[in-house]
Protein backbone atom coordinates (compact mmCIF):
# COMPACT_ATOMS: atom_id res chain seq x y z
CA UNK A 1 0.00 0.00 0.00
CA UNK A 2 1.23 3.41 -0.91
CA UNK A 3 1.65 5.78 2.00
CA UNK A 4 -0.44 8.95 1.86
CA UNK A 5 2.18 11.08 3.55
CA UNK A 6 5.89 10.71 4.08
CA UNK A 7 5.40 10.85 7.84
CA UNK A 8 4.61 7.14 8.18
CA UNK A 9 7.23 5.22 10.12
CA UNK A 10 7.85 1.53 10.31
CA UNK A 11 7.16 0.26 13.83
CA UNK A 12 10.21 -1.40 15.30
CA UNK A 13 9.29 -4.92 16.35
CA UNK A 14 12.60 -6.53 17.14
CA UNK A 15 12.70 -8.33 20.50
CA UNK A 16 13.88 -6.36 23.49
CA UNK A 17 17.45 -6.75 24.65
CA UNK A 18 18.18 -8.12 28.11
CA UNK A 19 18.82 -4.64 29.46
CA UNK A 20 15.49 -3.44 28.09
CA UNK A 21 13.71 -6.47 29.47
CA UNK A 22 15.10 -5.78 32.93
CA UNK A 23 12.91 -2.62 32.93
CA UNK A 24 14.89 -1.07 35.76
CA UNK A 25 17.08 1.26 33.62
CA UNK A 26 13.96 2.59 31.92
CA UNK A 27 12.26 3.00 35.29
CA UNK A 28 15.24 4.93 36.66
CA UNK A 29 15.23 7.16 33.61
CA UNK A 30 11.55 7.85 34.13
CA UNK A 31 12.12 8.59 37.79
CA UNK A 32 14.92 11.00 36.88
CA UNK A 33 12.48 12.84 34.63
CA UNK A 34 9.84 13.17 37.34
CA UNK A 35 12.50 14.21 39.84
CA UNK A 36 13.69 16.89 37.45
CA UNK A 37 10.16 18.24 37.29
CA UNK A 38 10.29 18.99 41.01
CA UNK A 39 12.63 21.89 40.29
CA UNK A 40 10.76 23.28 37.30
CA UNK A 41 9.05 26.62 37.58
CA UNK A 42 5.36 26.19 38.22
CA UNK A 43 3.06 28.16 35.96
CA UNK A 44 0.21 28.26 38.49
CA UNK A 45 -0.76 31.65 39.89
CA UNK A 46 -2.17 31.81 43.44
CA UNK A 47 -5.32 33.46 42.15
CA UNK A 48 -7.00 35.52 44.85
CA UNK A 49 -3.66 36.76 46.21
CA UNK A 50 -1.96 37.20 42.84
CA UNK A 51 -3.75 38.12 39.65
CA UNK A 52 -2.53 37.93 36.11
CA UNK A 53 -2.26 41.36 34.47
CA UNK A 54 -4.97 42.05 31.93
CA UNK A 55 -3.95 42.60 28.35
CA UNK A 56 -4.05 46.25 27.25
CA UNK A 57 -6.96 45.54 24.91
CA UNK A 58 -9.04 43.71 27.54
CA UNK A 59 -12.69 44.75 27.52
CA UNK A 60 -14.36 44.29 30.89
CA UNK A 61 -17.18 45.91 32.85
CA UNK A 62 -18.37 49.29 31.69
CA UNK A 63 -17.86 52.47 33.60
CA UNK A 64 -19.68 55.75 33.07
CA UNK A 65 -17.12 58.49 33.03
CA UNK A 66 -16.97 61.85 34.78
CA UNK A 67 -14.85 64.81 33.84
CA UNK A 68 -12.11 66.15 36.10
CA UNK A 69 -14.63 68.27 38.05
CA UNK A 70 -16.71 65.20 38.72
CA UNK A 71 -19.56 65.95 36.32
CA UNK A 72 -21.14 63.08 34.39
CA UNK A 73 -20.20 63.05 30.73
CA UNK A 74 -23.21 61.15 29.47
CA UNK A 75 -25.86 63.18 27.66
CA UNK A 76 -28.20 60.24 27.02
CA UNK A 77 -27.93 60.64 23.26
CA UNK A 78 -28.61 56.92 22.81
CA UNK A 79 -25.84 56.27 20.30
CA UNK A 80 -24.40 53.49 22.47
CA UNK A 81 -27.79 51.80 22.71
CA UNK A 82 -28.13 52.01 18.93
CA UNK A 83 -24.61 50.67 18.40
CA UNK A 84 -25.08 47.80 20.82
CA UNK A 85 -25.48 44.57 18.81
CA UNK A 86 -26.83 42.69 21.83
CA UNK A 87 -29.35 45.38 22.78
CA UNK A 88 -28.06 45.38 26.31
CA UNK A 89 -28.24 49.14 26.97
CA UNK A 90 -31.36 51.08 27.90
CA UNK A 91 -31.55 54.64 29.11
CA UNK A 92 -33.95 57.41 29.97
CA UNK A 93 -32.96 61.00 29.33
CA UNK A 94 -33.79 63.98 31.51
CA UNK A 95 -33.14 67.71 31.29
CA UNK A 96 -30.71 69.33 33.68
CA UNK A 97 -32.50 71.77 35.98
CA UNK A 98 -30.92 74.83 37.51
CA UNK A 99 -28.45 74.10 40.31
CA UNK A 100 -27.41 70.76 38.86
CA UNK A 101 -24.50 72.13 36.83
CA UNK A 102 -22.05 70.53 39.20
CA UNK A 103 -23.58 67.09 38.60
CA UNK A 104 -23.97 66.96 34.83
CA UNK A 105 -21.72 68.45 32.22
CA UNK A 106 -24.30 69.02 29.49
CA UNK A 107 -27.90 70.21 29.57
CA UNK A 108 -29.27 66.74 29.06
CA UNK A 109 -28.29 63.74 31.16
CA UNK A 110 -29.22 60.08 31.65
CA UNK A 111 -31.72 59.77 34.48
CA UNK A 112 -31.63 56.00 34.12
CA UNK A 113 -28.84 54.06 32.44
CA UNK A 114 -28.93 50.27 32.57
CA UNK A 115 -26.72 47.61 31.00
CA UNK A 116 -27.80 44.00 31.14
CA UNK A 117 -24.56 42.16 31.70
CA UNK A 118 -26.13 38.85 30.70
CA UNK A 119 -26.83 40.24 27.24
CA UNK A 120 -23.66 42.25 26.86
CA UNK A 121 -21.00 40.61 24.71
CA UNK A 122 -18.27 43.09 25.70
CA UNK A 123 -17.61 44.02 22.10
CA UNK A 124 -16.78 47.64 22.91
CA UNK A 125 -18.96 49.16 20.19
CA UNK A 126 -20.64 51.42 22.78
CA UNK A 127 -17.23 52.78 23.69
CA UNK A 128 -16.54 53.55 20.06
CA UNK A 129 -19.95 55.03 19.40
CA UNK A 130 -19.90 57.47 22.33
CA UNK A 131 -19.22 61.05 21.19
CA UNK A 132 -18.75 62.34 24.76
CA UNK A 133 -16.15 59.86 26.12
CA UNK A 134 -18.79 58.85 28.60
CA UNK A 135 -18.60 55.07 28.48
CA UNK A 136 -15.51 52.93 28.76
CA UNK A 137 -14.86 49.25 29.16
CA UNK A 138 -12.69 48.78 32.23
CA UNK A 139 -10.23 46.13 33.38
CA UNK A 140 -12.60 44.20 35.64
CA UNK A 141 -15.21 41.62 34.78
CA UNK A 142 -18.72 41.06 36.05
CA UNK A 143 -18.73 39.07 39.31
CA UNK A 144 -21.06 36.10 39.79
CA UNK A 145 -24.52 36.69 41.13
CA UNK A 146 -27.35 34.55 42.42
CA UNK A 147 -30.16 36.34 40.60
CA UNK A 148 -30.75 37.52 37.08
CA UNK A 149 -31.71 40.99 38.23
CA UNK A 150 -28.32 41.24 39.90
CA UNK A 151 -26.77 41.39 36.46
CA UNK A 152 -28.71 44.49 35.39
CA UNK A 153 -26.26 47.23 36.28
CA UNK A 154 -27.77 50.65 36.94
CA UNK A 155 -26.11 54.01 37.15
CA UNK A 156 -24.97 53.53 40.73
CA UNK A 157 -23.04 50.41 39.69
CA UNK A 158 -21.57 51.90 36.54
CA UNK A 159 -20.62 55.46 37.49
CA UNK A 160 -16.96 56.00 38.19
CA UNK A 161 -16.31 57.36 41.74
CA UNK A 162 -16.05 61.12 42.09
CA UNK A 163 -12.49 62.27 41.21
CA UNK A 164 -12.38 65.00 43.87
CA UNK A 165 -14.25 63.51 46.81
CA UNK A 166 -12.98 59.92 46.33
CA UNK A 167 -9.69 60.27 44.45
CA UNK A 168 -8.29 56.83 45.33
CA UNK A 169 -11.41 54.89 44.33
CA UNK A 170 -11.58 56.99 41.20
CA UNK A 171 -7.99 56.21 40.25
CA UNK A 172 -8.59 52.52 40.90
CA UNK A 173 -11.74 52.41 38.77
CA UNK A 174 -10.06 54.45 36.10
CA UNK A 175 -7.23 51.94 35.78
CA UNK A 176 -4.36 52.65 33.46
CA UNK A 177 -6.25 53.24 30.26
CA UNK A 178 -9.29 55.50 30.64
CA UNK A 179 -8.46 59.02 29.63
CA UNK A 180 -10.38 61.83 31.25
CA UNK A 181 -11.20 64.87 29.23
Amino acid sequence: MQALTNRAQQVERKPMSLLERAYLPAIFRGMAITFGHMFKKRPTINYPEVTRPFSPVFRGLHILNRDEEGRENCTACGLCAVACPAEAITMEAAERSAGEEKLYREEKYAAKYEINMLRCIFCGLCEEACPKDAIYLSETFAPANFQRKGFIYGKDDLLIPHPITEPEAHAKAKGGRVSLK
Binding site: M31, T34, H37, M38, R42, P43, T44, N46
Partner: protein, 356 residues
Protein backbone atom coordinates in the same frame (compact mmCIF):
# COMPACT_ATOMS: atom_id res chain seq x y z
CA UNK B 1 13.38 -12.13 84.66
CA UNK B 2 10.80 -14.05 82.69
CA UNK B 3 7.94 -13.46 85.10
CA UNK B 4 9.02 -10.10 86.45
CA UNK B 5 6.16 -8.15 84.89
CA UNK B 6 5.51 -5.32 87.28
CA UNK B 7 3.32 -2.25 87.13
CA UNK B 8 6.13 0.02 85.87
CA UNK B 9 6.73 -2.28 82.91
CA UNK B 10 3.05 -2.29 82.01
CA UNK B 11 2.82 1.49 82.25
CA UNK B 12 6.03 1.86 80.23
CA UNK B 13 4.75 -0.42 77.47
CA UNK B 14 1.30 1.20 77.45
CA UNK B 15 2.83 4.64 77.02
CA UNK B 16 5.04 3.31 74.26
CA UNK B 17 2.09 1.67 72.50
CA UNK B 18 0.02 4.85 72.66
CA UNK B 19 2.94 6.91 71.34
CA UNK B 20 3.66 4.49 68.50
CA UNK B 21 0.01 4.17 67.48
CA UNK B 22 -0.62 7.90 67.64
CA UNK B 23 2.52 8.78 65.76
CA UNK B 24 1.90 6.23 63.03
CA UNK B 25 -1.62 7.64 62.65
CA UNK B 26 -0.29 11.18 62.43
CA UNK B 27 2.45 10.13 60.02
CA UNK B 28 -0.11 8.34 57.86
CA UNK B 29 -2.28 11.48 57.92
CA UNK B 30 0.58 13.62 56.77
CA UNK B 31 1.60 10.96 54.27
CA UNK B 32 -1.70 11.57 52.50
CA UNK B 33 -0.84 15.26 52.45
CA UNK B 34 2.71 14.55 51.29
CA UNK B 35 1.34 12.29 48.56
CA UNK B 36 -0.76 15.10 47.17
CA UNK B 37 2.08 17.60 47.47
CA UNK B 38 4.62 15.27 45.85
CA UNK B 39 2.18 14.48 43.05
CA UNK B 40 1.62 18.16 42.54
CA UNK B 41 5.23 19.26 42.41
CA UNK B 42 6.16 16.38 40.14
CA UNK B 43 3.43 17.51 37.76
CA UNK B 44 4.47 21.17 38.01
CA UNK B 45 1.42 22.03 40.11
CA UNK B 46 1.21 23.57 43.57
CA UNK B 47 -0.92 21.06 45.45
CA UNK B 48 -3.14 21.77 48.46
CA UNK B 49 -2.11 25.11 49.95
CA UNK B 50 -5.35 26.66 51.20
CA UNK B 51 -6.08 25.01 54.58
CA UNK B 52 -3.73 26.57 57.11
CA UNK B 53 -0.14 27.64 56.43
CA UNK B 54 1.21 25.81 53.35
CA UNK B 55 -1.98 23.72 53.45
CA UNK B 56 -0.74 21.89 56.52
CA UNK B 57 -4.26 21.50 57.93
CA UNK B 58 -5.45 19.75 54.77
CA UNK B 59 -5.32 16.23 56.29
CA UNK B 60 -7.53 17.42 59.15
CA UNK B 61 -10.02 18.78 56.64
CA UNK B 62 -9.92 15.51 54.68
CA UNK B 63 -10.47 13.48 57.86
CA UNK B 64 -13.36 15.69 58.97
CA UNK B 65 -14.92 15.35 55.53
CA UNK B 66 -14.74 11.56 55.75
CA UNK B 67 -16.29 11.61 59.23
CA UNK B 68 -19.21 13.77 58.16
CA UNK B 69 -20.07 11.73 55.07
CA UNK B 70 -23.11 9.50 55.14
CA UNK B 71 -22.32 5.95 56.15
CA UNK B 72 -23.92 3.58 53.66
CA UNK B 73 -24.13 -0.16 54.18
CA UNK B 74 -25.50 -1.86 51.06
CA UNK B 75 -28.79 -3.74 51.63
CA UNK B 76 -27.61 -7.06 50.29
CA UNK B 77 -24.21 -6.97 51.92
CA UNK B 78 -23.17 -9.20 54.74
CA UNK B 79 -23.29 -6.52 57.41
CA UNK B 80 -21.01 -7.96 60.05
CA UNK B 81 -18.28 -8.79 57.57
CA UNK B 82 -18.79 -5.48 55.81
CA UNK B 83 -17.86 -3.68 59.02
CA UNK B 84 -15.19 -6.22 59.95
CA UNK B 85 -13.26 -5.67 56.69
CA UNK B 86 -11.96 -2.13 57.28
CA UNK B 87 -11.49 -2.83 61.00
CA UNK B 88 -9.25 -5.78 60.19
CA UNK B 89 -7.33 -3.80 57.59
CA UNK B 90 -6.69 -1.05 60.15
CA UNK B 91 -5.88 -3.48 62.95
CA UNK B 92 -3.30 -5.47 61.01
CA UNK B 93 -1.78 -2.26 59.68
CA UNK B 94 -1.22 -0.99 63.23
CA UNK B 95 0.06 -4.28 64.64
CA UNK B 96 3.32 -4.35 62.67
CA UNK B 97 4.67 -1.39 64.61
CA UNK B 98 4.99 -3.52 67.75
CA UNK B 99 8.29 -5.17 66.85
CA UNK B 100 10.08 -2.30 65.14
CA UNK B 101 12.92 -0.81 67.20
CA UNK B 102 12.37 2.95 66.94
CA UNK B 103 15.50 3.76 68.89
CA UNK B 104 17.95 2.17 71.29
CA UNK B 105 16.82 3.04 74.82
CA UNK B 106 16.00 5.98 77.03
CA UNK B 107 16.80 6.39 80.70
CA UNK B 108 13.93 7.74 82.80
CA UNK B 109 13.14 7.40 86.54
CA UNK B 110 16.15 5.16 87.02
CA UNK B 111 14.96 2.68 84.43
CA UNK B 112 16.29 1.77 81.01
CA UNK B 113 13.32 1.85 78.69
CA UNK B 114 13.75 0.10 75.36
CA UNK B 115 12.18 2.02 72.47
CA UNK B 116 10.63 -1.13 71.06
CA UNK B 117 7.24 -2.36 72.18
CA UNK B 118 8.07 -6.05 72.03
CA UNK B 119 11.53 -7.49 71.42
CA UNK B 120 10.30 -10.90 70.33
CA UNK B 121 12.98 -13.22 69.01
CA UNK B 122 10.89 -14.05 65.93
CA UNK B 123 10.23 -10.36 65.16
CA UNK B 124 10.45 -10.52 61.40
CA UNK B 125 8.28 -13.67 61.26
CA UNK B 126 5.67 -11.80 63.28
CA UNK B 127 5.79 -8.97 60.75
CA UNK B 128 5.23 -11.46 57.95
CA UNK B 129 2.34 -13.09 59.76
CA UNK B 130 0.61 -9.78 60.39
CA UNK B 131 1.17 -8.54 56.85
CA UNK B 132 -0.38 -11.75 55.49
CA UNK B 133 -3.37 -11.13 57.76
CA UNK B 134 -3.77 -7.74 56.10
CA UNK B 135 -5.12 -9.34 52.96
CA UNK B 136 -8.06 -10.71 54.98
CA UNK B 137 -9.31 -7.19 55.62
CA UNK B 138 -9.40 -6.52 51.91
CA UNK B 139 -10.85 -9.91 50.99
CA UNK B 140 -13.56 -9.87 53.66
CA UNK B 141 -14.48 -6.30 52.85
CA UNK B 142 -14.65 -6.94 49.13
CA UNK B 143 -16.64 -10.14 49.45
CA UNK B 144 -19.08 -8.66 51.95
CA UNK B 145 -19.86 -5.72 49.64
CA UNK B 146 -21.73 -8.12 47.33
CA UNK B 147 -20.46 -6.28 44.28
CA UNK B 148 -18.71 -7.80 41.28
CA UNK B 149 -16.13 -5.07 41.00
CA UNK B 150 -15.30 -5.22 44.68
CA UNK B 151 -14.93 -8.97 44.48
CA UNK B 152 -12.65 -8.66 41.47
CA UNK B 153 -10.52 -6.18 43.37
CA UNK B 154 -10.42 -8.45 46.39
CA UNK B 155 -9.42 -11.45 44.29
CA UNK B 156 -6.69 -9.47 42.63
CA UNK B 157 -5.41 -8.24 45.97
CA UNK B 158 -5.39 -11.73 47.43
CA UNK B 159 -3.58 -13.40 44.55
CA UNK B 160 -1.13 -10.52 44.19
CA UNK B 161 -0.21 -10.41 47.86
CA UNK B 162 0.17 -14.17 48.09
CA UNK B 163 2.36 -14.29 44.96
CA UNK B 164 4.65 -11.52 46.05
CA UNK B 165 4.90 -12.71 49.61
CA UNK B 166 6.76 -15.78 48.34
CA UNK B 167 9.49 -13.77 46.64
CA UNK B 168 9.63 -11.43 49.61
CA UNK B 169 10.05 -14.32 52.03
CA UNK B 170 12.79 -15.95 49.97
CA UNK B 171 14.63 -12.65 49.62
CA UNK B 172 14.40 -12.31 53.36
CA UNK B 173 15.75 -15.81 53.98
CA UNK B 174 18.97 -14.80 52.27
CA UNK B 175 19.18 -11.79 54.56
CA UNK B 176 18.46 -13.88 57.64
CA UNK B 177 21.23 -16.30 56.65
CA UNK B 178 23.71 -13.45 56.85
CA UNK B 179 22.32 -12.01 60.09
CA UNK B 180 21.65 -15.33 61.79
CA UNK B 181 18.76 -13.92 63.83
CA UNK B 182 15.07 -13.16 63.41
CA UNK B 183 14.95 -10.47 66.09
CA UNK B 184 14.68 -7.03 64.53
CA UNK B 185 16.53 -5.50 67.45
CA UNK B 186 19.56 -7.74 66.95
CA UNK B 187 19.47 -7.21 63.19
CA UNK B 188 19.61 -3.46 63.78
CA UNK B 189 22.36 -3.77 66.38
CA UNK B 190 24.49 -5.80 63.98
CA UNK B 191 24.39 -2.90 61.57
CA UNK B 192 25.54 -0.30 64.09
CA UNK B 193 29.31 -0.52 63.67
CA UNK B 194 30.01 1.10 60.32
CA UNK B 195 27.85 2.44 57.57
CA UNK B 196 29.19 -0.40 55.42
CA UNK B 197 27.85 -2.96 57.86
CA UNK B 198 24.35 -2.03 56.71
CA UNK B 199 22.66 -5.03 55.15
CA UNK B 200 22.04 -3.22 51.88
CA UNK B 201 25.76 -3.70 51.15
CA UNK B 202 25.56 -7.41 51.88
CA UNK B 203 22.26 -8.05 50.14
CA UNK B 204 21.67 -5.54 47.32
CA UNK B 205 19.68 -7.96 45.16
CA UNK B 206 17.74 -9.14 48.18
CA UNK B 207 16.89 -5.53 48.97
CA UNK B 208 15.72 -4.86 45.42
CA UNK B 209 13.42 -7.88 45.47
CA UNK B 210 12.18 -6.95 48.94
CA UNK B 211 11.49 -3.39 47.79
CA UNK B 212 9.54 -4.49 44.73
CA UNK B 213 7.53 -6.93 46.82
CA UNK B 214 6.89 -4.24 49.44
CA UNK B 215 5.36 -2.10 46.70
CA UNK B 216 3.15 -5.01 45.72
CA UNK B 217 2.18 -5.77 49.33
CA UNK B 218 1.14 -2.18 49.93
CA UNK B 219 -0.98 -2.17 46.74
CA UNK B 220 0.98 0.79 45.47
CA UNK B 221 1.57 1.74 41.86
CA UNK B 222 2.79 -0.01 39.68
CA UNK B 223 1.04 -2.85 41.51
CA UNK B 224 -2.21 -1.10 42.45
CA UNK B 225 -4.42 -3.42 40.42
CA UNK B 226 -6.78 -4.19 43.32
CA UNK B 227 -8.03 -0.62 43.19
CA UNK B 228 -7.45 0.06 39.50
CA UNK B 229 -10.00 2.83 39.20
CA UNK B 230 -10.30 2.82 35.44
CA UNK B 231 -11.25 -0.85 35.28
CA UNK B 232 -12.73 -1.66 38.70
CA UNK B 233 -14.20 1.68 39.84
CA UNK B 234 -12.72 1.68 43.33
CA UNK B 235 -11.78 -1.99 43.53
CA UNK B 236 -12.39 -3.51 46.94
CA UNK B 237 -13.61 -0.26 48.48
CA UNK B 238 -16.19 0.56 45.80
CA UNK B 239 -19.13 0.12 48.18
CA UNK B 240 -17.52 1.80 51.15
CA UNK B 241 -18.23 5.32 52.27
CA UNK B 242 -17.46 7.64 55.15
CA UNK B 243 -14.87 6.57 57.71
CA UNK B 244 -14.96 2.90 56.68
CA UNK B 245 -13.53 4.01 53.35
CA UNK B 246 -11.20 6.24 55.31
CA UNK B 247 -9.97 3.22 57.26
CA UNK B 248 -9.07 1.39 54.05
CA UNK B 249 -7.24 4.39 52.64
CA UNK B 250 -5.58 5.07 55.96
CA UNK B 251 -4.51 1.45 56.37
CA UNK B 252 -2.73 1.74 53.03
CA UNK B 253 -0.67 4.68 54.24
CA UNK B 254 0.07 3.08 57.60
CA UNK B 255 1.19 -0.05 55.75
CA UNK B 256 3.40 2.10 53.61
CA UNK B 257 4.98 3.76 56.63
CA UNK B 258 5.49 0.49 58.47
CA UNK B 259 6.93 -1.33 55.49
CA UNK B 260 9.30 1.60 55.07
CA UNK B 261 10.23 1.15 58.73
CA UNK B 262 10.78 -2.58 58.24
CA UNK B 263 13.01 -1.91 55.23
CA UNK B 264 14.95 0.70 57.18
CA UNK B 265 15.52 -1.70 60.07
CA UNK B 266 16.39 -4.65 57.86
CA UNK B 267 18.58 -3.03 55.23
CA UNK B 268 19.50 0.52 56.23
CA UNK B 269 20.77 0.14 59.74
CA UNK B 270 17.57 1.08 61.55
CA UNK B 271 18.27 3.99 63.89
CA UNK B 272 22.01 3.93 63.12
CA UNK B 273 23.48 7.36 62.46
CA UNK B 274 25.89 6.99 59.54
CA UNK B 275 29.55 8.07 60.10
CA UNK B 276 28.94 8.57 63.85
CA UNK B 277 30.12 6.36 66.68
CA UNK B 278 26.95 6.08 68.76
CA UNK B 279 28.60 4.86 71.96
CA UNK B 280 30.92 7.86 72.23
CA UNK B 281 28.08 10.17 71.27
CA UNK B 282 25.98 8.72 74.09
CA UNK B 283 28.80 9.43 76.56
CA UNK B 284 29.12 13.05 75.50
CA UNK B 285 25.45 14.14 75.32
CA UNK B 286 23.57 11.51 77.34
CA UNK B 287 21.46 8.50 76.49
CA UNK B 288 18.15 10.31 76.18
CA UNK B 289 19.36 12.82 73.63
CA UNK B 290 20.97 10.06 71.59
CA UNK B 291 17.67 8.17 71.68
CA UNK B 292 15.91 11.26 70.38
CA UNK B 293 18.43 11.65 67.56
CA UNK B 294 18.13 7.92 66.84
CA UNK B 295 14.36 8.15 66.53
CA UNK B 296 14.76 11.22 64.33
CA UNK B 297 17.25 9.47 62.08
CA UNK B 298 14.97 6.45 61.86
CA UNK B 299 11.99 8.59 60.92
CA UNK B 300 14.09 10.45 58.37
CA UNK B 301 15.11 7.20 56.71
CA UNK B 302 11.51 6.00 56.75
CA UNK B 303 10.41 9.33 55.27
CA UNK B 304 12.90 8.86 52.44
CA UNK B 305 11.27 5.52 51.71
CA UNK B 306 7.82 7.10 51.85
CA UNK B 307 9.05 9.62 49.31
CA UNK B 308 10.33 6.77 47.16
CA UNK B 309 6.89 5.13 47.30
CA UNK B 310 5.28 8.37 46.13
CA UNK B 311 7.96 9.12 43.57
CA UNK B 312 7.45 5.72 41.96
CA UNK B 313 3.68 6.12 42.09
CA UNK B 314 3.78 9.34 40.10
CA UNK B 315 6.27 7.98 37.58
CA UNK B 316 5.35 4.47 36.58
CA UNK B 317 2.08 3.33 35.01
CA UNK B 318 0.23 0.28 36.28
CA UNK B 319 1.13 -3.26 35.21
CA UNK B 320 -1.29 -5.43 33.31
CA UNK B 321 -2.44 -8.38 35.37
CA UNK B 322 -0.58 -11.06 33.39
CA UNK B 323 2.57 -8.92 33.49
CA UNK B 324 2.17 -8.65 37.25
CA UNK B 325 1.92 -12.41 37.63
CA UNK B 326 4.80 -12.99 35.20
CA UNK B 327 7.00 -10.63 37.13
CA UNK B 328 6.11 -12.23 40.43
CA UNK B 329 6.36 -15.90 39.53
CA UNK B 330 8.79 -16.06 36.61
CA UNK B 331 11.26 -13.35 37.52
CA UNK B 332 11.22 -12.40 41.17
CA UNK B 333 10.91 -15.87 42.67
CA UNK B 334 13.74 -17.39 40.54
CA UNK B 335 15.87 -14.33 41.24
CA UNK B 336 15.19 -14.62 44.95
CA UNK B 337 16.03 -18.33 44.85
CA UNK B 338 19.30 -17.65 43.04
CA UNK B 339 20.10 -14.94 45.56
CA UNK B 340 19.38 -17.34 48.40
CA UNK B 341 21.53 -20.12 46.90
CA UNK B 342 24.38 -17.73 46.18
CA UNK B 343 24.25 -16.35 49.71
CA UNK B 344 24.18 -19.85 51.15
CA UNK B 345 27.12 -20.96 49.02
CA UNK B 346 29.05 -17.84 50.01
CA UNK B 347 28.44 -18.39 53.72
CA UNK B 348 29.40 -22.07 53.49
CA UNK B 349 32.59 -21.19 51.64
CA UNK B 350 33.40 -18.54 54.20
CA UNK B 351 32.91 -20.99 57.06
CA UNK B 352 35.10 -23.48 55.19
CA UNK B 353 37.90 -20.94 54.80
CA UNK B 354 37.33 -20.66 51.04
CA UNK B 355 38.01 -24.36 50.30
CA UNK B 356 35.58 -26.32 48.18
Amino acid sequence: MLLSIGLPLIIEKLVLIVVVVMSSLVIAMYATFAERKVAAIMQDRRGPNRAGPFGLLQPLADGLKLFFKEEIIPNLSSKFLFILGPCLAMLTAMMTGAVIPWGDKVHFFGRDISLQIADVNIGILYVFGVVSMGVYGIMIGSWASNNKFSLMGGLRAASQIISYELAMGIALIALLMTTGTLSLKEIVQQQQEHWYSWNIIKQPLGFLIFLICAFAECNRTPFDLPEAENELIGGYHTEYSSMKLGFFLFAEYINMFLSSSVMVSLFFGGYDIPFVNDASLAESIGTNWVALIHAGVFLFKAACFLFLFMWVRWTIPRFRYDQLMNLGWKILIPLALINMLATGAFILLQQNNWHF
